[in-house]
């Protein structure tokens, strides 16, 4: 199998996590990717990068997540990594009012360096450290809601990396936001349909295809539930010859036949 391409292709999305130092960005990432929580506090050095496969609404995605250092002195060094992001998680800590206020700067920095349109870009606001006692809480749900409204961000969520609450949900939320934005863009493009340049791939539609090199085992548990959907979506994007392959795969009746080779 070594010379065969790994079976599953998934959409590749670049995610950037931003926020003041110490709000728990790395903890969130570590919990999400490897389901671990490290009690001891460390500072991210510059940037950190991890991959994670995730299936949402019947589609498989590979999130390429860039975790950045919150310290100011890394500023010039981390901004180059913003480019090409598909979504951005703005993190604050529930026990730190300033960290919520800080998000404005983070958002601006991101918009500036990633060169995106703020109203067309999926930002979500993530409140970390949901596990703290009520009296230590400095940011109320309403505060966040208001902040988000002010900045045109429609999604926010509170998580705890320590207790593993809402961690995956946060990323899924971001992904849904992204999908929503994609749909909007797609619809707009269709509106000006007569001018679509076919030589130019439609950016929002055509995602990179990638496999993360993850083993088949990992991949297998994501596929089954929405097998058909996934296939159809992909098939629609493929060339005609892959269509026939698709039919071929479908028509084979033996349940023992290895799925891997004919599923797209």
């Amino acid at each position: 199998m070594t010379n065969m391409r790994p079976p599953q292709k998934s959409k590749l999305l670049k995610v950037v996590i931003l926020g003041d130092g110490g709000v728990g960005k790395s903890a969130l990432l570590t919990r999400f990717v490897s389901n671990r929580y490290e009690e001891n506090n460390f500072h991210t050095i510059g940037v950190e990068f991890m991959n994670k496969d995730i299936a949402v609404d019947g589609e498989k995605y590979t999130l390429q997540i860039w975790d950045t250092a919150g310290q100011e002195r890394f500023r010039a060094l981390r901004t180059p990594f913003y480019r090409g992001s598909d979504m951005c998680l703005l993190c604050y800590a529930l026990d730190d009012r300033d960290s919520l206020r800080g998000l404005r700067l983070w958002r601006n920095e991101f918009i500036n360096y990633a060169d995106v349109q703020p109203d067309r870009f999926p930002f979500i606001v993530v409140g970390n450290k949901n596990d703290i006692r009520a009296e230590r809480r400095q940011v109320s749900y309403e505060d966040v809601q208001q902040w988000c409204a002010e900045h045109g961000i429609s999604a926010h969520i509170e998580t705890s990396s320590k207790t593993a609450t809402n961690v995956t949900d946060a990323f899924v939320l971001a992904l849904r936001q992204w999908k929503a934005m994609e749909r909007v863009a797609e619809a707009e493009q269709r509106q000006h349909g007569d001018t679509i340049d076919l030589t130019q791939p439609i950016r929002l539609m055509q995602r990179r295809q990638c496999c993360t090199g993850g083993g088949t085992g990992k991949a297998a548990d994501v596929v089954d539930a929405d097998d058909d959907d996934g296939r159809n979506t992909d098939a629609a994007m493929r060339s005609p010859s892959s269509m026939s392959r698709h039919l071929f795969g479908q028509s084979r009746s033996s349940p023992k036949a290895p799925k891997t080779n004919y599923q797209l």
Partner: protein, 1154 residues
């Protein structure tokens, strides 16, 4: 490929390209972005190495053509070869009134009048005094002949008009000759003749003039020595005619007034016979005279004529009588002097010196910094005469010179050697003088006048041409002077550094008086400051509308100048400064430059960095390449970085323990480096695109299987690597971030390369598409190889970037865990890129396979249509595949070749499947499928795929099965169905319909079949029982022509019927041997009326199984015929035109309940 070999290969390639002039190809490539990477990478490195070498090799600190630095090279050169030290010219301070431009012919500005004004004494009086001295010259050298010329000379020096001269001359001549004195210093004597009986003497000296014997001067007595040291001074008045006078110096042995008895007592000390006789004589003398009687050891007679006016120190042999025997020698210093008031004399002397010097400078056109104390003969004569006749001691003279020369020095610079030597004379005495004495005051006044020029030398070291070593000499003298002056205590009344003179001196601490030491430092700093301001001005003349580029160039220039200044300081001046005054010159300089340069550079660099415009960096999709025409960041900013870095390294070696402001210079470049990295990825992507466009897709040479763009792309990476190495970012965390960014960028480049490479070959084939056959060319393979080559090079290349080192340092600096996280980040980035690239390779391969597929399909279709024997399309297919695979095999590496095979097989299976499908629809006869199957087998054997255990073998075997089924005649197909049923039956463990037990025995003529019983038969009647019987068929019945089905008796109302019936079936040996023949047992229920029977269930057994279980009871599960979704039934369904098949299916449908 072995990693090491690979890198060697790359290296060699790169070397070649370095050695060989760039090819046309490279030119084109580099032209595309103006050689961006070459500039940044190797080019900059070469440049910096060149710089290094310059600094190391250029021993001449001021190369003639040093641009911009020698702002004072405009100084007029003196054409006279003797005045080579014109370069010593100093730019004078503003507060020095002397104008540099008046050098040369106008030196006579310093006229006597000038001096006159300063002199409180009437010049005429001094002139009279000098004339008087000339007329009364003393010393051996004076003669009447030179007297006249001396008078003439004096007249000239004093610029006395003739009339006045005569007048004064008259007076001077009439004056009484001066009272002279003879100053004698008796220094020491050696090798005196022993006079006492103990072999020693007790010498003392007696001096007197021949004309006055009675007036004797005695020295002290040195006891028991033959080498006495006296060092005693005597001043003998000379009454008249010093020329005829003779000085007599006598050395005596002192004999105390001893009594005879004393002498006799000495007997015991007597040495030898001679001593004894001497003693006896003494005793006799003492006894006879009764008084002391010193004994003359020897005498020297010195005619005063022989004594020069400057005096002399000389050894004289002692003589006595006419005996030639050596009696020892004596060292004396003899000088003549006049009696005069010392203060008046020294004042006169000072003025005289000034006048003489001015005249000297004037008449001989002495260049500045040249005169070192040597007067012309006549001037010297007048000077010495005055000194002697005024009774001035050498120290007095030195002090006068010090004062006079320093005064002249203020207006016309003299050689520092002069002052240094005067200081040598003065140094021993000055500290012993009373602090408030006139002499001390005079001394410090002189020093005060001299010091500014000393500091001026220090401050203007840079403006000298020192290649002729003169400046070093001067500096050495100056530092000597300073170091000597440092040792003296400055009287409180003297303000050594008046503000009016030391305008450049910063009086920060007004309470604390400036010491020479800190003024030295201040002078060094102020010199550096002035120099820096000059070079700053030189560079920033058009400041306002300067572009960033120009500003940066300016910074580079400044730093380089400063650096060469330091280099020079270290090479030439440090040693002097350290040895003379224990000051580390270059360190002092560096400390000064540090803050200044920081100020200048930081502002500019940060400004330039902040001016940098944000770039349109393409995202990971690379859907477009930004226009790079207006992205023009030269190498300058980076050059500044490198220059600063080298400068800082120098500083760290100079001031290892200092907190230098410059140490954090790299922080200013944060933004710049980030920007550069962004540019570099854009440029790299563009360059890769260009490289791919230019790539002819021919192997670079015979030894490798990739083409030019792969090499070009790696070369870009190589340049980025060099840039990174050059950058050598000092901050660890920062360097991790940068390296992460670079790794990410390089990965992106790789992915981009793969993507564009695919496009390129795809474009090639699109062009070729017109011809209906896809030809797999070498280009495809090269494209695949290129991608693979880049991919394989990636990990080792990233290793070359030194990521491991960065991670290790991070581990040391932070924690191991932190380092681990960073390491895994980098690994994740690389893995991602590797995966993506592999996918792109596979995608391309799949694309190739897909392109091949129409041709294959055509051949296959044709091949299957016509009969096997007379069709050549199979051959053509095989040739096509053979050719393609041959190309692939030759050009691809093993892994990719296998990938291609896999892909082709994938395509092939699709094609064949499609063929099968479409031809089934066309109701092709089984022969068609047989043909197809044969074709497949041929291909399998030619692909030799049997050995490989790829998953595709399974698909293949499935296709084969399908083909096999369809190739079967209908009867065989039906039999196939039965076999399937039999297989299914055997898999059942229990049966809801019951079981049947039989046994069988083959005989020669046939088969003896015993139907034993049935159990648990499913009830068919209302009473819950059944009336069963068994019917036996031989299948396929085509093999058993003439066989009538057998039937048992009916067993009523019994679900466990015991049939126990034996049948003899006749079989031919051929029939017997067909082991897949089946016996079908149908268990039926006889209904009440016996009209028809209900079908209960059935079961099968093959001959093979019968043979295996011969003679044993065989228990079989009963089952019911089902219209299953089996392959054979489906195949039958396709044979709609086949009557047999149609009937069979119809029957089966009837039989099965569903």
């Amino acid at each position: 490929m072995d990693e090491e070999q690979m890198w060697k290969g790359i290296f060699n390639k790169l070397q070649e390209s370095n050695v060989n002039p760039p090819t046309e190809h490279q030119h084109q490539l580099q032209d595309s972005d103006d050689g961006f990477f070459e500039k940044f990478g190797s080019f900059l490195r070469q440049k910096s190495q060149l710089d290094e070498n310059n600094f190391k090799t250029s021993l001449a600190p001021f190369p003639e053509a040093e641009e911009g630095e020698e702002e004072e090279t405009a100084i007029p050169k003196v054409n006279d070869g003797s005045c080579t030290d014109s370069g010593l010219e100093i730019k004078t301070d503003d507060n020095e009134s002397f104008d540099t431009s008046t050098l040369g012919s106008e030196t006579d500005l310093i006229s006597v009048n000038n001096i006159k004004e300063n002199v409180c004494m009437n010049i005429d009086d001094l002139y009279e005094e000098i004339l008087f001295e000339i007329y009364n010259n003393i010393g051996c050298e004076s003669s009447d002949a030179c007297r006249e010329s001396l008078v003439e000379f004096a007249k000239e020096v004093f610029k006395i008009p003739n009339a006045t001269h005569l007048e004064i001359s008259e007076i001077a001549m009439k004056k009484e000759p001066p009272k002279l004195r003879l100053n004698v210093e008796v220094i020491k004597a050696e090798n005196l003749l022993p006079m006492d009986s103990n072999g020693s003497s007790d010498p003392f000296v007696t001096l007197y003039l021949e004309s006055n014997i009675s007036h004797r001067y005695n020295s002290s007595v040195k006891t028991s020595t033959l080498s006495p040291i006296w060092e005693e001074h005597f001043s003998l008045p000379i009454a008249e005619g010093p020329r005829d006078e003779v000085l007599i110096i006598e050395v005596w042995d002192f004999d105390a007034a001893e009594t005879v008895k004393d002498k006799v007592n000495k007997l015991l000390d007597v040495k030898g016979v001679r001593g004894l006789s001497k003693l006896m004589k003494e005793i006799a003398v003492t006894a006879s005279s009764g008084k002391h009687d010193n004994e003359l050891i020897g005498r020297a007679m010195i005619s005063l004529k022989s004594i020069p006016v400057t005096g002399l120190t000389v050894w004289y042999n002692l003589e006595k009588g006419s005996k030639t025997k050596s009696r020892g020698s004596i060292l004396v210093n003899i000088a003549l002097s006049a009696e005069k008031n010392k203060n008046v004399a020294s004042q006169e002397h000072k003025h005289l010196l000034k006048l003489l010097l001015v005249h000297e400078l004037d008449s001989s056109q002495v260049a500045k910094y040249w005169w070192s104390g040597k007067f012309g003969a006549m001037a010297e004569a007048i000077r010495t005469q005055h000194a002697v006749q005024s009774g001035l001691s050498p120290v007095d003279c030195a002090l006068c010179q010090w004062h006079a020369y320093s005064t002249v020095h203020e207006t016309h610079k003299l050689n520092f050697v002069l002052f240094n030597s005067i200081l040598d004379v003065l140094a021993p005495v000055i500290n012993y003088l009373q602090n408030d004495s006139e002499d001390v005051k005079t001394f410090w006044e002189g020093a005060k006048r001299l010091l500014p020029s000393c500091f001026s030398i220090l401050r203007h070291l840079r403006s000298k041409q020192i290649s002729d070593n003169k400046i070093l000499k001067t500096l050495s003298e100056v530092l000597d002077i300073l170091s000597k002056l440092k040792t003296f205590e400055v009287p409180a009344t003297i303000d050594l550094f008046p503000k009016t003179v030391y305008g450049w001196l910063e009086y920060e601490d007004s309470e604390k008086a400036n010491t020479i030491d800190n003024v030295i430092i201040a002078a060094i700093n102020s010199g550096a400051k002035e120099w820096m301001e000059q070079i700053k001005e030189v560079g920033s003349q058009t400041k306002d509308h300067d572009s960033d580029e120009e500003k940066l160039q300016n910074v580079i220039k400044i730093i380089q100048m400063v650096r060469s200044d330091l280099q020079r300081a270290m090479e030439y001046f440090d040693k002097l400064f350290y040895h003379k005054i224990r000051v580390s010159y270059s360190t002092t300089l560096f400390m000064f430059y540090d803050s200044k340069l920081t100020e200048i550079c930081k502002a500019i660099v940060e400004q330039v960095c902040s001016n940098i415009k944000k770039l349109d960096v393409p995202d990971d999709n690379f859907e477009y390449l930004p226009n790079i025409d207006n992205v023009n960041m030269g190498t300058t900013l980076f050059e500044v970085y490198l220059v600063l870095k080298r400068y800082n390294t120098l500083g760290q070696s100079l001031c290892p323990n200092c907190q230098l402001e410059m140490n954090e210079f790299y922080l200013w470049f944060d933004r710049g480096v980030t920007h550069w990295l962004e540019i570099s990825i854009i440029k790299a992507l563009n360059r890769i695109q260009k490289a791919i466009d230019l790539d002819q897709l021919h192997a670079v040479d015979e030894t490798v299987k990739y083409s030019s763009s792969a090499v070009d792309t790696l070369a870009i990476f190589y340049q980025i690597k060099i840039f990174w190495q050059q950058l050598d970012w000092p901050d660890i965390e920062g360097s991790y971030l940068f390296v992460a960014k670079i790794v990410n960028d390089i990965c992106r480049c790789c992915v981009f390369y793969a993507q564009r490479m695919s496009h390129r070959v795809e474009a090639i084939t699109k062009r070729e598409q017109d011809g209906d056959m896809f030809n797999l060319s070498e280009e495809w393979c090269l494209a695949i190889n290129n991608m693979d080559y880049i991919r394989q090079s990636l990990p080792s290349f990233i290793k070359e970037l030194g990521t491991d080192t960065v991670i290790r340092r991070l581990g040391d600096y932070k924690t191991y865990l932190d380092a681990q996280r960073c390491a895994s980040t980098i690994k994740a980035v690389i893995d991602n890129a590797l995966d993506t690239q592999r996918n792109q390779i596979v995608e391309l391969i799949e694309y190739v396979a897909r392109r091949m597929s129409p041709s294959i399909r055509r051949y296959l279709t044709e091949g299957a249509e016509v009969l096997h024997e007379n069709s050549n399309s199979m051959e053509r297919l095989m040739m096509y595949l053979d050719g393609s695979l041959q190309t692939l095999y030759v050009n691809l590496n093993e892994v990719n070749f296998k990938r291609v095979l896999d892909s082709i097989w994938e395509e092939l299976s699709i094609i064949i499947y499609d063929l099968v499908q479409s031809n089934l629809d066309k109701r092709r006869p089984p022969a068609f499928f047989q043909n197809l199957r044969a074709t497949l087998h041929t291909m399998i054997s030619s692909f030799k795929i049997g050995d490989t255990k790829t998953s595709d073998v399974k698909i293949l075997s499935e296709i084969e099965n399908t083909l096999e089924l369809h190739a079967l005649e209908t009867a065989d197909l039906i039999h196939q169905y039965y076999l399937e049923r039999f297989k299914y039956q055997k898999q059942q463990e229990t049966s809801p319909f019951g079981q049947l037990t039989i046994s069988a025995q083959f005989s020669d003529s046939g088969l003896v079949l015993t139907i034993l019983n049935a159990r648990n038969l499913v009830s068919m009647d209302k009473n819950g029982l059944c009336d069963s019987f068994v019917k036996v068929f031989m299948i396929p019945n085509i093999r058993f022509n003439g066989f009538t089905p057998l039937k048992t008796a009916v067993h009523n109302k019994n679900c466990f019927p015991l049939y126990d019936e034996q049948f003899k079936i006749h079989l031919t040996p051929e029939q017997r041997q067909m082991e897949d023949s089946l016996i079908l047992f149908c268990v039926k229920d006889k209904d009440l009326f016996g009209m028809s029977s209900q079908y209960i269930a059935e079961c099968y057994i093959t001959f093979a199984d019968l043979i295996a279980a011969e003679g044993e009871q065989i228990l079989m599960n009963l089952c019911r015929p089902e219209y299953t979704d089996s392959l054979s039934l489906r195949a039958l369904e396709y044979r709609q035109g086949d009557k047999q098949a149609k009937e069979f299916l119809k029957k089966l449908k009837n039989k099965s309940y569903s």
